[in-house]
């Protein structure tokens, strides 16, 4: 749609942006790297879908003082090839997305640190009444310069208990048939759990031909101590806050409760044997 060196002029604000190159394209919008007149770098997201762009502007404006969301600068229309397009100007994030990192393989300790950070972000968004339902590696950027994790693409977020607008089937609770496609705490836990499996194993099984039980079985070894927490998350109803706390203290509680269960079981057996002997 836009070429290198094109100049974009906003209809309402009159600001000028010079297009450098295309960064990516999604189903709805295209993203470009642009410079303004003072030679500052920005990312430009442009689309003819008014609803989606305006929605993203609204969400990003409410997240202006959050570290994990790209800072929003501008919303405007532009006339291109006799057609009105809508765009937002956001902060340009230097770094790469998680998809690229995951393909190289991520060590489990590092992956758990990433997931803790992501869970924290999801919780913070949830507290603000925003449910981020399209969590996937290509929507998560690792900003090496400022050492932070940034979620991009807020056009598909929804409110509590609303219908999920956009999703990726592999990370979607309803596609795996373990719950409704409704934005609630369990939905967020599920997608975070799936993301962790993807980060650790570097691949995802398709939901057409596999069940959750199979996914868990194949990834059990690699998940190690996080296995139980992930199993609960993939149940579809696990509370996001509990998942976060669980990961935060390294699944300590889960392991303790597992050992306590073992000890309880063993002591009951000993008790029964003693009873039999006594009789």
């Amino acid at each position: 749609m836009l070429k290198n060196g094109d100049v974009l002029v906003g209809i309402y604000n009159g600001r000028k942006y010079i297009v450098d190159r295309r960064l990516g394209c999604g189903g709805v919008a295209d993203v470009y790297l642009v410079y303004d007149e003072n030679n500052f770098k920005y990312a430009l997201k442009i689309s003819d879908d008014l609803i989606s762009i305006t929605r993203e502007f609204k969400v990003l404006s409410s997240l202006k003082n959050c570290k994990f969301a790209p800072y929003i600068f501008d919303l405007d229309d532009a006339l291109l090839y006799n057609k009105i397009y809508h765009y937002i100007i956001v902060e340009y994030i230097e770094g790469c997305n998680l998809d690229r990192l995951a393909k190289r393989g991520i060590a489990i300790d590092y992956a758990s640190l990433i997931l803790i950070e992501i869970l924290n972000i999801l919780l913070e968004l949830k507290r603000a009444g925003i449910y981020y339902t399209d969590l996937k590696p290509s929507n998560i950027m690792v900003d090496q310069k400022k050492e932070r994790i940034v979620l991009i693409d807020y056009g598909s977020t929804t409110g509590a208990n609303d219908i999920v607008k956009e999703f990726t089937p592999d990370f979607d609770r309803a596609s795996w048939r373990v719950g409704l496609r409704r934005a609630d705490s369990g939905y967020l836990s599920f997608e975070a759990g799936m993301l962790f499996i993807y980060l650790v194993t570097g691949q995802l099984m398709s939901h057409d031909s596999h069940s959750i039980a199979e996914v868990l079985k194949y990834s059990k070894k690699k998940l190690g101590r996080f296995y139980i927490a992930i199993m609960k998350a993939l149940n579809g109803t696990y509370d996001l806050n509990r998942l976060y706390v669980n990961f935060k203290n390294n699944c300590f509680n889960e392991r303790v409760s597992l050992y306590l269960n073992y000890m309880l079981f063993i002591s009951v057996i000993i008790f029964v044997i003693l009873m039999i002997l006594a009789v």
């Binding site: 305006t54 609204k58 919303l75 219908i163 999920v164 956009e166 089937p169 409704l180 496609r181």
Partner: protein, 230 residues
Amino acid sequence: MFEMSIRQIIVVTDGKSNVGGNPADAAYLANKKGITVSAIGIVDDGILSHKEIKDIANWGGGVYDIIYSDEFIKSLSAITQKSAEKTIYKTLDSELMRLIGKNIEGLHPVLRSQIIDYIDKLLDMSNLKCAILLDLSGSMKNKLKKAVNGITDLLSTFKARRGKSELCLIGFPGENNVYAKILCPFTARISDIEFCLDDVKAGGNTPTYYAIEIAASLFENEINTMRYIV
């Protein structure tokens, strides 16, 4: 907040209409009756007519998507949403034009966000009637399972809505040289649709024009019977 009912037809095909008139004409006529017609084209075999898909959506006032059959689940739910969104958008747009002489695009971008909120709310609360037109011609045979999966999946999207949602399933062509067969009339009960999805078979040609026409008339019958009851 005003009550709104959204009526839409979604055509799912992998080929080109080869019986009857131009499907875009049927889509246009349906759109005039207040029904939004959208289309999903499955491109696997390369026999799909891209132009036809685009034309159906353009004349039917809806949206389109051209996909591989693997992406069907995601696409069907996205198209249903987008098409409903577009219907509400258009209604509000003309309403606003009537009230203040400006449409949504004419407003200042920052002001628009309040209207978007309203659209989101309406989208969730309104009554949705959706007719899915499933191409059952010979070439669809090996994609049918994925298509059926997609439709069952759409039902789980509907379950999460606050408003009433009804689904109707039409296959074209029907058996014995019938242009289209109503596999399942409008229903809100998921078991009804799952039941009729079991015995879907593919074979025959592609009478897209007639299928859209029949689907549109189905909405109309509904309106007439409603009047009758009143």
